[in-house]
């Protein structure tokens, strides 16, 4: 690891990152100073982010007949140097959120501030330069590398595009990057098909690192990999984070992995964040009924504990994001939903405890215990919703 290639980029981007972007004035926005007093420096700030995909009909004139609300009003901050986990079922808008932050999807509404600059207003060259600091690691290592380009070109292209190194030094830099992610630098002339899934994912990471980013969206980076390879990639990501002070938005549906890697975790349901809290808070004491159900579904690698685990089985399927339910999006499946409240009023994301946000009418700082007892009553009455044991509440 001689000649740390990252010595330059990590710091100098900081100078006037102090422009408070959250000042846009949306009420239900969790303040950036959250979690564990980590310094609380906001790197990326998302305000009321909406991404709707229009449903059109018509042959020549396209009429808009509806919209799939993939992301429907998200507000959260990503703090410098943290790993923010983003979990939820498939189709809840996790990946769309990640792409929208990087401006790969057209925003329907909302702002994405990166160090104070609103990315949605940037175009062309300005966006290209700004986006250099934000990269993505993709889910499918077989689709994320251009099969017609050699490793040298794949990892070297970003250097060329941004003119980051003089021509003569580019190859050395590519080798350095490959070495960094654990790929033999002598394979620079080989093509992606000559590598395994895990190695390809490493190459993808090297490509992302080539532009010296501060912020990386990891879009389910290990879901497509063999179980045996996953730990390696996670370790690599963590090591890189330590070395270069990277900030991650880690999108996954594997709760255990998110628990392992994240500092804070946001839970999404149907295009909205239902709960956001520090890792140990969320896993230890989930407030939102959806989070509780999600966590109860995680198997526990201990036969004795596993036997006693009673998962909360949610009734029905996820409603279509094209016509989300009224009020709280979750009320159609929520075991604790109250008629006249949950199906009418849209809950906002409120800070229940310092740094612990939840969007639920039934949870508040004062009456937090109520939901538990309500649920217990339901369990006692023999309703479908079984009682809730918080899994792994004992472990770390």
């Amino acid at each position: 690891m001689a000649g740390d290639p990252y010595a330059v980029p990590a710091v100098p981007q900081a100078p006037d990152g102090s422009v408070a972007p959250g000042a846009a004035g949306v009420p239900d926005k969790p303040p950036s100073t959250g979690a564990d007093g980590d310094g609380g420096d906001t790197l990326v700030s998302i305000t009321d982010l909406k991404v709707h995909f229009p449903i059109t009909s018509g042959v020549i004139v396209q009429r808009k007949v509806g919209a799939v609300r993939a992301v429907d009003g998200l507000s959260f901050d990503v703090l410098r140097g943290e790993t923010l986990g983003l979990v939820g079922e498939s189709g809840c808008g996790k990946s769309t959120t990640g792409r929208a932050i990087l401006q790969l999807e057209k925003l329907t509404a909302g702002q994405v501030f990166y160090e104070g600059a609103d990315l949605a207003r940037l175009h062309g060259g300005a966006l290209r330069r700004q986006r250099r600091r934000m990269q993505m690691i993709f889910q499918d290592p077989y689709a994320s590398l251009n099969s017609r380009m050699s490793l040298g070109h794949i990892v070297g292209e970003p250097l060329l595009v941004h003119n980051l190194r003089p021509r003569g030094e580019r190859e050395d830099r590519v080798k350095e990057l490959l070495n960094l992610v654990g790929i033999n630098p002598n394979t620079i002339n080989r093509y992606p098909h000559e590598f395994s899934g895990g190695q390809r994912q490493r190459i993808g990471i090297a490509r992302a690192l080539a532009v010296e980013p501060n912020f990386i969206v990891c879009d389910e980076p290990i879901s497509a990999l063999d179980v045996s390879i996953r730990a390696q990639i996670i370790n690599l990501l963590q090591a890189l984070q330590r070395s270069f002070g990277l900030t991650y938005l880690f999108i996954a549906h594997d709760l255990s992995v998110v628990r392992h890697i994240s500092d804070r975790v946001a839970v999404m349901y149907l295009g909205r964040i239902v709960e956001l809290a520090a890792n140990h808070e969320l896993y230890g004491e989930p407030f939102h009924p959806y989070t509780q159900a999600l966590l109860s579904a995680v198997p526990i690698p201990d036969p004795l504990v596993e036997e006693r685990r009673r998962p909360v089985v949610l009734a029905g399927d996820v409603p279509s994001p094209a016509s989300p339910p009224s009020g709280c999006h979750f009320h159609t499946r929520c075991p604790a939903a109250q008629k006249g409240l949950c199906d009418v009023d849209d809950p906002v994301l409120r800070e229940i405890r310092p740094g612990h946000f939840a969007a639920c009418h039934l949870v508040s700082a004062a009456d937090y215990p109520k939901i538990r007892s309500a649920e217990d009553r339901a369990a006692a009455a023999g309703t479908a919703a079984a009682g809730q044991t918080t899994p792994g509440g004992d472990a770390s």
């Binding site: 790969l104 993505m136 590398l145 251009n146 000559e194 590598f195 490509r207 063999d226």
Partner: protein, 354 residues
């Protein structure tokens, strides 16, 4: 720990069975070589040590790199298995040799009217030792004319397809990559084009030009065939632009131009090759049709369609006048179609079973 599991423990049941017939022992198919604390692995089979190892900072040894074949050699391997396609390829190769080498290979001049090529009554001569495939109504050697006719067919086939392809790739990329109103415009225009009877359109176009010739045919056929080509390229671009490597390219700061040339165009090569070879077959047929009704290649330049037209009245008395050019057209079209189908299957083996 010993990484190489003893066969006895692996498969005790088989061992006892197999002991009877000879000394055959089942060895494990792989051998995990453990050097420097178990970092080696073979073909994705990773030893448990590797999982816990902090892989960061040390690259995995070369042994782990999976040697697989490149796209092209895989395509060739699959193509080779298709006997019909290989036969088609041989025929196409022969056609090209004949077309290119016509001036040297042809036994006679295709335009010379030989005295010996007509009987005393002025009728064409049947195939014989001197004129292998007989002569035509003017006493010209059929074989030589057919060989020169191959030139015309192939030149028009390749050029017209190249022209259609050029238009198709430009329009297809514009529509597929940039989307928006441009896409609506282009794709609706192709719908209109595809709704036209192609042959009728070609007749109308070429009859409106006073001096039809090879170049006119190339342009006419190109104009007629841009629509299906655009369709194909548009669909391909639509699927490629959503691939993750294109997103990655956009993220790392590539301009649209760079994305198109470095990331999208190379992936269009396969469909372009396939549809060109299929397109040449249809073009040869269209050219023959136009020449047959006198709107294509003008005499005295020999063309297969025109030769059939000349000899059609005499098919009872002089069958060779129509039979051989007809066979030539059939074989050429068949060969290109076989090659095209074979290539399509070779490029995309999953699509094979419809």
């Amino acid at each position: 720990m010993s990484p190489k599991l003893p066969p006895d423990e692996l498969i005790p049941d088989y061992r006892s069975d197999l002991a009877h017939d000879g000394e055959r022992r089942l060895e494990p198919e792989f051998e995990v070589v453990l050097e420097d604390e178990g970092r080696h692995s073979i073909d994705g089979l990773v030893t448990s040590e590797l999982i816990s190892a902090e892989a960061y900072g040390e690259w995995l040894p070369e042994a782990e790199i999976i040697e697989t074949r490149g796209t092209w050699s895989q395509v060739w391997r699959r193509f080779r298995k298709d006997k019909f396609a290989v036969a088609g390829l041989v025929v196409v190769a022969l056609l090209i040799i004949v077309a290119v080498g016509a001036p040297w290979l042809a036994p006679h001049n295709p335009l010379t009217q030989y005295d010996s090529g007509l009987t005393a009554k002025g009728q064409p001569v049947a195939p014989n030792r001197h004129f292998w495939l007989g002569t035509d109504l003017l006493g010209r050697d059929m074989l030589s004319r057919l060989m020169y006719g191959a030139r015309v067919s192939l030149v028009i086939g390749v050029l017209a397809n190249g022209f259609a392809l050029l238009l198709g790739v430009i329009f297809g990329i514009l529509a597929g990559y940039f989307r928006g109103w441009l896409e609506t415009l282009i794709m609706r225009a192709t719908d209109v084009m595809l709704a036209f009877p192609i042959f009728l359109l070609a007749i109308a176009l070429s009859s409106s030009i006073s001096h039809p010739g090879i170049w006119v045919l190339v342009v006419v056929i190109g104009i007629v065939y841009w629509a299906p080509m655009t369709r194909v390229i548009h669909g391909e671009v639509l699927s490629i632009r959503e691939k993750e490597f294109v997103m990655a390219a956009r993220l790392t700061g590539c301009t649209n131009r760079r994305i198109l040339t470095n990331h999208i165009l190379p992936h269009l090569v396969a469909p372009i090759i396939v549809y060109t070879s299929l397109g040449i077959a249809t073009t040869v047929l269209l050219e023959a049709g136009l020449s047959f009704i006198g709107l294509g290649v003008q005499p005295p330049t020999p063309s297969w369609g025109q030769m059939i037209a000349d000899g059609q009245q005499y098919y009872t008395s002089a069958l060779w006048l129509t039979l051989f050019p007809g066979l030539c057209i059939m074989i050429t079209v068949l060969a290109f179609n076989l090659v095209g189908d074979g290539l399509r299957d070779a490029f995309d083996p999953q699509q094979r079973r419809r």
